[in-house]
Subunit: 202 residues, 2 copies
């Protein structure tokens, strides 16, 4: 199979538990390449360089943008977030599926650049549940919880632009649903015209 | 959930093993309603009324057509094949998923009538394998194997019109793929706008 990998974009309001979800997906499907974003925001307690993010300076990030070395980026609460291009392209070319965890604006850009990508929006069970999770986290600094809540609502209005919706009420079940989507997408006819051709020339 | 069921259309050239595949799917997902086609062709050895088909007369079938009691029908080798409407509509309304096993022309009609339906084309591993299976079956009467082979090739050219392709080289694996497709389709955003709305009005 010289087929290209699938580019899967996952977005979710902060506090929806998307990090834990993607971690769970990685465990179920270790072959999937998890793109690590670069950011200029400060490292939170428990985060690790190259695992949660590549932490970098504003100057370095602006150089990445200028050199077109990020496939998308966004500025949020005065910090940059973006997806380094090279590892994504290399893995897709090798036929490995790539998961990108990005904000809604970035996702819309990916859709334009990669029309065959698969966009999944992860929803919290409810807005109340989201607020509870953000309150519990207690790691907020530059952005207040209120600001995040307002943003969460705005982000949810983008959910309609995505291909699939997954409600993260049960982590393992939600990860299974991500797997179902990825497996089904690989069976889409437009990704498999070669099979029809090979049968017809038999 | 007052949500409607999913209408899944499965087509495959004869000899691809679609009956065994749908049987396997039914075992894995007993909640799915398997629509039984009506036909005017003669019962083959081992077939059962109401299990494989509803066997009926030409006159009765033409009455079904006139009364619009079939959602689609086709004539093949001088026999009618069609899907009775009432059980399909009732099950979809109740929120139960419905699987329809139909020919390519019927599938194209279903697509027009039910734009939200999911069309899956099942392919044999190769045309040689298909011929082998038809030779082995040895139940052909009115239609020669050659005629079926020619039709199989024509049908495969329609595969590009379907949403998904499943290669039936391993029965259980192919049935799992059908399950993956059904599960993923239920997560499609356009089928779940109510979830977005319910979160936004929270």
């Amino acid at each position: 199979m010289s087929k290209k990998g699938l580019l899967v974009v996952i977005s979710a309001p902060s506090g929806t538990g998307k990090d834990a979800l993607i971690e769970c997906l990685s465990q179920k499907a270790p072959d999937i390449f998890k793109s690590i974003s670069a950011t200029t925001r400060e490292m939170r307690v428990g985060e690790k360089e190259g695992v949660d993010y590549y932490f970098t300076t504003k100057e370095n990030f602006e150089k990445l943008i200028a050199d077109e070395e990020v496939v998308e980026y966004t500025k949020y609460c005065n910090n940059y977030y973006g997806s380094p291009k090279a590892p994504i392209m290399e893995n897709l070319e090798k036929g490995r599926d790539v998961v990108l965890k990005i904000e809604v604006e970035g996702a819309m850009n990916i859709r334009r650049m990669f029309p065959d990508s698969v966009l999944i929006f992860v929803l919290p069970p409810s807005i109340e549940e989201l607020k509870k999770r953000l309150d519990k986290r207690g790691t907020e600094d530059e952005c207040t919880i209120e600001k995040r809540m307002k943003r969460a609502r705005t982000e949810v209005t983008y959910a309609g632009e995505y291909d699939y919706l997954v409600v993260n009420d049960d982590l393992s079940r939600a990860a299974e649903q991500l797997m179902d989507i990825i497996k089904a997408e690989k069976l889409k006819t437009f990704r498999n015209h070669d099979i029809i051709k090979s049968i017809l020339v038999d």
